[in-house]
């Protein structure tokens, strides 16, 4: 295994209709690292994830995944190359059941997910994986419920289960804790910790600072589309610029 970074972005830029949304961001993430991304609302965190995962195309700069330039690859190609992500607002298939949602994800890895001669079965490998993932996030009892009617917290868990089922090597989590009841936050951060321990690289946008700082190896701070700082949690918190831009000067 090389020590080359698993994911890098270089001079990434995006402007829409003249407005600069991402402004020359460079970043490199080592294999197995957990990186937190923080910053005020509208700083461009989600947009950065969108550019990395291919949901949006940058107006400048390069994204490399596992050493390959993926800047012009499609979303699904990047996903197959091992990049998985969740969305800030939960993004599921509301009419399909929880198991079906996860199974769809599991099938991608197993192949044959678009086969017309294979049926989803309650005892196939994909379903077994799906049930296992639901179990991991504590949704086993909701397997047959339509995803659309799950409670908000359960939806977030289901998303993580789907993510795990695709078995990605790099994971982008966009505010996984948003809207999760405080009692569940600890459990969810434990799930995330486990995901990381199993050898995956994790990038996570999160406003729950205490959670982020406890989990991550490094923190990137975004502000007005720029990368303000990227360092260990302690160093970042001590940084004056960060204090001013994100934590806010006292009134």
């Amino acid at each position: 295994m090389s020590d080359q970074p698993v994911l890098t972005v270089e001079h990434l830029a995006l402007s829409i209709g003249g407005a600069v949304i991402i402004d020359d961001v460079s970043l490199s993430v080592a294999r197995g690292e957990m990186l937190g991304v923080i910053g005020p609302n509208g700083a461009g965190k989600t947009t950065l994830f969108n550019l990395i995962s291919g949901v949006m195309t940058p107006t400048g700069g390069v994204v490399t995944l596992e050493g390959c330039d993926v800047t012009n690859q499609t979303i699904d190609a990047r996903a197959r190359a091992g990049l998985g992500r969740t969305f800030q607002t939960s993004s599921l298939f509301p009419a399909l059941s929880a198991v079906e949602n996860v199974r769809l994800a599991a099938q991608v890895k197993l192949g044959g997910s678009t086969s017309v001669i294979r049926f989803p079965r309650s005892n196939d490998a994909a379903t077994t994986i799906a049930r296992g993932r639901l179990d991991e996030v504590g949704l086993d009892h909701h397997g047959n419920t339509a995803a659309g009617v799950l409670s908000h917290g359960d939806k977030r868990k289901l998303e993580i289960a789907m993510l795990l089922a695709t078995d990605p090597s790099v994971i982008l989590l966009d505010e996984p804790m948003a809207g999760v009841a405080s009692g569940d936050v600890a459990g969810l951060s434990e799930v995330i910790r486990q995901v990381h321990r199993s050898g995956r690289t994790v990038l996570m946008v999160e406003h729950h600072l205490d959670v982020v700082l406890g989990l991550v190896d490094r923190v990137a701070v975004m502000h007005h589309g720029q990368l303000l700082a990227c360092d260990t949690p302690d160093a970042v918190m001590a940084d004056e610029a960060v204090q001013k831009a994100y934590l806010g000067a006292p009134l």
């Binding site: 209709g17 003249g18 005020p40 609302n41 509208g42 700083a43 607002t89 509301p94 659309g148 009617v149 409670s151 908000h152 917290g153 939806k155 505010e175 804790m177 948003a178 809207g179 009841a181 405080s182 936050v185 406003h207 729950h208 600072l209 205490d210 959670v211 007005h224 001013k244 831009a245 806010g248 000067a249 006292p250 009134l251």
Partner: protein, 231 residues
Amino acid sequence: MSESILTVSDLNANIEGQQVVESVSFEMLPVGVTALLGRNGVGKTSTLRAILGLIERSGEVRLAGERIDREPTHRIVQRGVGYVPEDREVFASLTVAENLRLAERDSSPNRELIAELFPDLTERSHQLAGTLSGGQQQMVSLARALVNDNRVLLVDEPTKGLAPLIVVDVARALERAAETVPVLLVEQNLQVVRMLAERAIVLEGGRVVYDGSAEELLGNGALTKELLGVA
């Protein structure tokens, strides 16, 4: 204690079939700022939008004693409910002046007040709102609510994504507004809350988990951490 200006009882709201506000009840005093707090996604914005009828809702909402929960949004607003939405929602292809003109519904709009509060906007009245900076857009959004005489103002994260300097400007404008009209304020910046609000209501998972003095809440570190997740 005076009559409540806005009473919300057992409010429920759905977005695309998903319940985002769950049996929320609270009362709002006819003076000063009431803060509506909670983490991201707990349903603060949705509560405001439900009050305004912008999303599907059930339950009871009274404005100065009169039920308004069966009325369409524009009627509710015409009764004197001003709204400053979360993401500013200025009309990007309209000029600043047009944005303001659209918002005027009183026969004698408070144009002077606007000119006084936001001199910047008067200068830029012919600029397209879409080309304004975030802070300026926030000014437009606030001005649209303040240009009419309202009985209550619903303000959603007015300082979101603003540089600290502008945060202060916005806070001052709100403070000024609150002298004449009660404000229900959703805000993440606790400094702003501390500066403006007397009362605080905290939501979690779509429900009210705290309703009381803002000072007490923010003074109690453990409570703040538990409810808002911030130290």
